[in-house]
């Protein structure tokens, strides 16, 4: 479904995208070399499967709200995997992005922390280990040994790093613990894979699974949470280091003030968030230590 976003977006967006493409080409022709500047004063915001990224009308409203608040054009760029969004950031094709904590630590040299969403008033979330509701034999991770397991994304903390860390703490090698593993490239689809029986277990973002219980209870409630990880810092909004201080501050202010306006609150409610806080890189120390265990940081 996510491959066809341009087709599903309203026509004016497609038109705008076309105009932007033409502008981009024109800018390239007149020799503007700095990629971040190539789009004039338009802000490009990357969205990742860190949240329920198939809510297109919600995204569109948020983008319009953001553009109106910042008084400049805003483009939301969605990709199906974290990796693609990370690549776009590295290539400076994005000014801002909402990414997972794990990629944030990977990209620490290239990005700056902008703001952290508040989920249930706090900037934290966890990893859930879910199994099918009617499958009563699985009570913990140990029971899933030799089963088929669904991970969300190789660059997801809660959907990959945290469960593997847990397996390792249980004294097993995560590479051989399961009979087979696969990635669904989205937390929502992990829930779907487990609910359908394709995988016996799955690792999923607590924020997304809990939100799904409200949005799609018939899907979410076919799964059962058998293990909760410790808390980790919530997936942050980051800016590329090349973004100007003015733009950085303008965007940060917009996010922090979002809960102050009615429209902003209604959008936050639909995102199942309470607002944004400044946050600090220390929030993600727990993830960093897990990464070190796997020799990644």
């Amino acid at each position: 479904m996510t491959q066809s976003i341009p087709n599903l977006l309203p026509n004016r967006n497609r038109r705008r995208w076309l105009i932007n493409s033409v502008c981009l080409t024109a800018a390239g022709l007149i020799g503007l070399t700095h990629k971040a500047r190539a789009t004039g004063n338009k802000l490009r915001v990357g969205m990742t499967p860190a949240f329920l990224h198939n809510e297109y009308s919600l995204l569109d409203e948020w983008r319009e709200f953001m553009a109106a608040s910042l008084q400049r054009p805003v483009e939301f760029i969605q990709r199906d995997s974290y990796r693609e969004t990370m690549d776009l950031l590295r290539l400076e094709k994005l000014d801002f992005a909402w990414i997972c904590d794990y990629p944030y630590l990977h990209l620490k040299q290239e990005v700056r922390l902008l703001a952290v969403p508040l989920y249930q008033e706090r900037p934290y979330y966890r990893s859930y280990l879910i199994v099918r509701k009617d499958n009563t034999q699985f009570k913990s991770m140990a029971d899933l040994s030799g089963s088929v397991f669904a991970y969300a994304d190789p660059y997801s903390n809660t959907g990959y790093l945290a469960p593997r860390y847990h397996i390792r703490n249980l004294g097993h090698d995560p590479a051989t613990f399961f009979r087979k593993t696969f990635f669904t490239w989205s937390h929502r689809k992990v829930v779907e894979a487990v609910a359908s029986g394709l995988a016996q277990g799955g690792a999923v973002d607590s924020y997304i699974r809990d939100t799904l219980v409200h949005v799609e209870p018939e899907l979410a409630l076919r799964t059962r949470v058998v293990w909760r990880s410790p808390e980790y810092g919530f997936p942050p909004f980051v800016s590329h280091r090349s973004v100007s201080i003015a733009d950085y501050q303008q965007m940060q202010k917009h996010l922090l003030d979002m809960s102050a306006s009615e429209k902003g609150r209604s959008l936050l409610a639909r995102l199942n968030l309470d607002g944004f806080t400044l946050g600090s890189p220390q929030l993600y120390d727990g993830v960093a230590s897990m990464m070190r265990v796997f020799g990644e940081a």
């Binding site: 087979k180 696969f182 394709l198």
Partner: protein, 491 residues
């Protein structure tokens, strides 16, 4: 079983034709059903092949990259919910790896990932065996004792076989559709039967009825001559109609034969009586002539006492009566031949007129004849007088008598005389003995009139008959015309 063949045609024809109609409808229906089932199956296979090729191409990259989730999304896409149950609706899509293990399936609950064919049941074992040996694609498999139909295609990438795509179709879904078709066909069949069977029963009974009638009449033929068939019983010219016509001809021939036999018996009896009477009459005539001569001679003597004379006259009258009676019995046709002319008829009319008037009879006189006819006048006169007097006396007071004389249908060789009266009809018994002597039907009649008439007619080689017709008694005489020698009553 034999009783079935012994049944009456009235039952047998409708039964057999009903059976044949039902049997034909059943056989045609069964053939159409089989065809419909095959068509449905081939529709499923065609649809499956199209779907299979599309899915096999789409799913190939996911096999190459071991992307289970994408493969799952692809194989799940053609699966619909319970509501869309059509025969061409695929029940399950399965991707098998090269080693026939399940790579992914649209129904992970029953066909889990990594499952070996052996773990999935005999269907999959058979399928696995066939996949290894298959050279022709798509492979269509309908395992024995299975509720499913399978269609398998290889998944390839540039000639490298990556695995197999298997589509499973539930026969339980297309059975209800097929049963619907069967019901529909059954109702149409019953409707056709409901129309055809009554028509067939009517036609069969109609066909059998004349046959049954014929059989009954033929059965009774030995005891009595049966009636001919009613002409409207079977008015057609086919073999059955021809059979009935032959039967009718047979019946008519039998009736003619019976009538002829009857007539022969009667004539023989009359001839015997004639011989007997003639013999007796001759025996009486000879002494009688002597006696009469003696009495005449005696009467001529003058010295007879008055009393003796009276006795002689008594004897004379008695002898005369005997002679008259014997003369009447001995019909003499050897008379001089004079042709019949119109005056003879006028004489007869005049002669019977007094009796006609006395009994107030209405007489119809229709004598169409030329001036002369080559028939013996005195004998014809006697016949006419006898018949007419007989009729006038037989008719009721104020009744009706008719005479018709002429040549029937313009015949040159026969003279016909028809006399009718409206008196009491003749019984069968009377008809049988009508022409015998002393068989009078009337009080006071001596019963020789018709005897004499019969003798004359037979001696002239004609025919006489009597019958009841239209509430009248009719005598018909037919006499040959022309010069011929007449014989006497005595042989």
């Amino acid at each position: 079983m034999r009783w079935l063949f012994n049944l009456s045609f009235r039952r047998k024809i409708p039964l057999w034709t009903s059976f044949l109609i039902s049997f034909s409808i059943f056989v045609v229906g069964a053939a159409l059903m089989t065809r419909a089932y095959e068509d449905m199956k081939s529709a499923v296979v065609i649809s499956a092949e199209n779907l299979g090729h599309t899915l096999a191409n789409t799913v190939a990259p996911t096999l190459l990259h071991d992307d289970v989730w994408r493969a799952f999304e692809i194989v799940r896409s053609p699966i619909r919910g319970e509501s869309a149950q059509t025969p061409v609706q695929v029940d399950a899509v399965v991707v098998l790896a090269r080693d026939h293990q399940v790579f992914v399936s649209s129904d992970p609950d029953t066909l889990p990932m990594l499952a070996e064919p052996a773990a999935l049941g005999s269907d999959w074992l058979q399928l696995s065996a066939r996949l290894g040996a298959a050279t022709k694609w798509p492979l269509v498999l309908e395992p024995d004792n299975s509720n499913y139909l399978y269609l398998a295609l290889p998944i390839t990438d540039k000639d490298a076989k990556l695995g197999y795509l298997v589509l499973r179709y539930a026969k339980s879904v297309f059975h209800p559709w097929f049963i619907d078709t069967i019901w529909q066909a059954l109702w149409i069949g019953l409707l056709v039967l409901a129309v055809l069977i009554p028509i067939n029963w009517y036609w069969g009974s109609r066909m059998a009825k004349p046959l049954v009638d014929l059989a009954q009449r033929m059965g009774a033929m030995l005891e009595t001559v049966p009636e001919p068939l009613p002409p409207d019983l079977y008015p057609y010219r086919d073999e059955l109609g021809q059979l009935f016509q032959a039967y009718d001809r047979l019946v008519l021939a039998l009736r003619d034969k019976a009538a002829l036999e009857n007539e022969m018996v009667k004539s023989e009896r009359l001839a015997a009586i004639g011989q007997l009477t003639a013999g007796i009459a001759h025996e009486i005539n000879n002494p009688l002539a002597g006696l009469i001569t003696v009495v005449d001679t005696l009467k001529l003597q003058r010295d007879l006492a008055p009393r003796a004379l009276r006795n002689l006259e008594l004897i004379d009258r008695g002898l005369t009566q005997i002679r008259d009676t014997v003369a009447a019995l001995l019909v003499q046709t050897r008379v001089q031949v004079r042709p019949l002319n119109q005056h003879d008829l006028e004489d007869i009319h005049t002669l019977i007129q007094p009796l006609v008037s006395k009994r107030r009879i209405r007489l119809d006189w229709s004598a169409a004849m030329p001036a002369e006819l080559p028939a013996p006048a005195s004998l014809v006169r006697q016949i006419l007088i006898n018949l007419l007097l007989n009729a006038v006396q037989a008719a009721a007071e104020g009744g009706h008598v008719s005479l018709w004389l002429g040549r029937k249908d313009g015949s040159e060789s026969f003279l016909s005389i028809v006399v009718r009266n409206d008196g009491a009809l003749l019984s069968d018994e009377q008809l049988a003995h009508l022409f015998e002597p002393f068989a009078s039907t009337r009080v006071g009649g001596h019963g020789l009139g018709l005897w004499v008439t019969y003798q004359i007619v037979t001696q002239l080689e004609g025919r006489i008959s009597a019958r009841n017709i239209d509430d009248q008694v009719e005598f018909v005489v037919s006499l040959p015309l022309g010069e011929k020698p007449c014989s006497t009553a005595s042989p």
